[in-house]
């Protein structure tokens, strides 16, 4: 498929933005200036960017406890995310959600859901709503491999299937459910084999290749939008960071990590852009320098922003 250069460079920039954002946030956490805990997205950037680049602005995503990549890919501003991670009033949830619940309905992102599998019924309900209102919109449900072992996954994917709802269920298979390898908790080799049980298509793709993800997502999104029903899309990827802030990731075998680092999506895609002659190294370097500057500005703004007044804790319980 032929893409224009702007689009291809845009994908690169988006992935680098997520990577650099996460790396900066990791150090801010290590410095102890951010509250709470954190689940990071390094290594999985091609999934969020590949899928979200196949969506329209009015489409809606649900996310997980590892939501920063999805949020940036869906268009939330760096400032509103950084502000939220710092627990400041400028955050997208005014400091009430934190890292695990970032979201912005205006941007089409339901607050991230930090209960594994919890988003699958909600995305299905969004699809039901689009269908009932006859709106040509699509819901995308991001989930990890571990979520496919939750009961809610089965209930909700089945429901999406029986009503041909406009939903794309995206499994980001990073091979670990926290520390437990998915091969220990699922007998099927590909999680999309489970799609047969619901009578919907199941497609497994290389989740570290952003264009492959984009193209598979486009097919699934078009299918959903046309009323043909949901797709179970599995993107094979790898988490090159710990499950959460305190996880040194010692359970990932060294050989496996080495291999995964060699296949991580940004290096691969950058090399491809250079080899294809789509971009010069200078353009890639410039993209990185630009996002770094934007991230630094967002850090400065978040650090300078006021913390919420304690009284604000009482607000927003009820409408």
């Amino acid at each position: 498929m032929a893409y224009d250069t702007q689009f291809l460079l845009g994908l690169y920039r988006q992935m680098v933005l997520i990577r650099q954002f996460e790396e900066r946030v990791k150090f801010l956490f290590l410095e102890g200036v951010m509250p709470g805990t954190i689940h990071q997205y390094q290594g999985q950037e091609a999934v969020a960017v590949g899928v979200c680049s196949a969506l329209e602005a009015q489409d809606v995503i649900t996310s997980t406890h590892r939501p920063h990549g999805h949020a940036l890919a869906k268009g939330l501003s760096i400032e509103s995310l950084m502000g939220e991670l710092f627990g400041k009033v400028t955050g997208c949830c005014h400091g009430k959600g934190g890292s695990m619940h970032v979201g912005d309905l205006e941007k089409g992102m339901v607050p991230a859901i930090a209960i594994v599998g919890g988003g699958v019924p909600i995305a299905t309900g969004i699809g039901l709503s689009f269908k009932l209102r006859q709106e040509p919109r699509v819901a995308v449900c991001f989930m990890g491999d571990g979520a496919t072992n939750e009961g809610a996954f089965h209930e909700a994917v089945n429901m999406g299937a029986i009503w041909s709802l406009p939903v794309v269920y995206v499994i980001e298979n990073n091979r670990y459910s926290a520390s437990t390898p998915i091969c220990q908790t699922a007998r099927v080799e590909r999680l999309t084999e489970r799609a047969h049980a619901y009578g919907i298509p199941g497609v497994t793709v290389d989740g570290n290749d952003v264009l492959t993800v984009h193209e598979a997502a486009q097919v699934a999104v078009e299918r959903a939008r046309s009323g043909a029903g949901p797709t179970l899309l599995e993107a094979m990827t790898y988490r090159i960071t710990g499950h959460s802030r305190r996880d040194p990731c010692l359970y990932q075998p060294e050989e496996e990590r080495k291999q995964a680092l060699a296949e991580e999506p940004i290096g691969r895609y950058g090399a491809w852009l250079l080899a294809e002659g789509t971009a010069e190294q200078a353009a890639l370097d410039q993209a990185r320098a630009e996002v770094d500057a934007e991230i630094e500005e967002a850090v400065r703004a978040a650090q300078a922003a006021p913390a919420p007044a304690p009284e604000a804790a009482l607000e927003d319980v009820f409408a």
């Binding site: 809606v60 309905l105 607050p111 209960i115 809610a152 909700a156 607000e315």
Partner: protein
């Protein structure tokens, strides 16, 4: 009009009034609901507005949240309140918290209708009164009507409310008859009703227990004690002031509920009354509730487990004695 018909009428009126309202649940369509509450609605409004669901409570309740976030106003039915265990995550972690977690970005106008309570020998998994669980969850409103008029008026208010409401019916009340005002009838959430005035003892209660307390009050009146009965109608928001005003008048307080005693609704009511009306109380408040054990099937055992009129009489006599 029966309690069942009053609820049916409220649903029909709200479906008629607001295009965004729709019903979903197991067997709510052509079958008309396991308790026959939605009878005729499928025929009248069609399957787009009255949706039969798979036996997938988590997907049903989670689905309502998705629908709300994109502009609809769903009313889900969970056949028995006992089944909330399989969708507790969606109710407690998602629905009750989404507005707060998002810093107020969204309103969550959804209703989960269900029914609870014992008295039909349905045993341990189909007879419970679990309202206290949800009173303990900030972000949810809990509505629990005792009469046909309240069932209709409160349900209509619940559907129009911009917050998630758990609407708990009682399986033994469906055939109870009562006057229901003609035309538009709304009962605001958070307003208790004084069912009977009296100066000797305040009894706060709700749902089916209102009827039992009324029977007990007749007996107590014959013995010279005038009971004031406060039907709470909604547990969240809780109309404390009506309850406190009554206690300040009578000086005695009894909480009656069908749920279990320990950490139940009555425990909360007694704590609040004690704190706020301490100087007015003539003695320690008391509770009548279900015994702390699963609800058994055999009628004699069930009767010994759930509160009876005799239990209310005994507790009331001890308070005024």
């Amino acid at each position: 009009m029966t309690y069942r018909d009053a609820i049916n009428a409220a649903l029909a009126e709200e479906l008629e009034r607001d295009e965004r309202v729709f019903l979903l649940g197991e067997d709510v369509g052509l079958f008309g609901g396991a308790m026959a509450v939605t009878k005729g609605l499928y025929e009248r409004f069609g399957e787009r507005r009255v949706q039969d669901m798979p036996i997938s409570e988590s997907a049903i309740v989670g689905g309502t949240l998705g629908a709300v976030l994109t502009g609809l106003r769903p009313v889900a039915e969970i056949m028995f309140i006992d089944f909330v265990g399989v969708c507790m995550d969606q109710i407690v972690n998602q629905i009750a918290k989404v507005r707060y977690m998002l810093g107020g970005q969204v309103e969550v106008p959804l209703v989960i209708r269900t029914q609870g309570g014992g008295g039909k020998s349905y045993a341990a998994q189909h007879s419970q009164s679990l309202e206290a669980w949800f009173m303990h969850t900030p972000g949810l409103k809990v509505v629990i009507p005792s009469t046909p008029a309240d069932a209709k008026g409160l349900l209509k208010s619940a559907i129009r409310d911009n917050n998630p409401v758990l609407f708990i019916e009682h399986k033994l009340l469906y055939n109870e008859k009562g006057e229901v005002p003609e035309g538009e009838h709304l009962v605001p959430l958070g307003q208790a009703r004084v069912v009977r005035e009296g100066s000797g003892l305040t009894i706060a209660t709700y749902s089916r227990m209102v009827g039992l307390v009324q029977q007990a009050a007749e007996g107590l009146a014959a013995e010279g004690t005038e009971v004031e009965i406060v039907d709470l109608r909604t547990l969240t928001p809780l109309d404390e002031e009506t309850m406190f005003a009554s206690v300040r008048k009578t000086g005695r307080f009894l909480a009656v509920e069908e749920g279990h005693l320990t950490a139940g609704v009555g425990a909360e009511l007694v704590a609040r009354v004690t704190k706020n009306c301490f100087d007015y109380l003539d003695g320690p408040p008391e509770r009548v509730a279900a015994q702390d054990r699963p609800i058994p099937c055999a009628p004699a055992l069930e009767k010994a487990t759930l509160p009876q009129v005799e239990d209310i009489l005994t507790a009331a006599r001890a308070l005024v004695g």
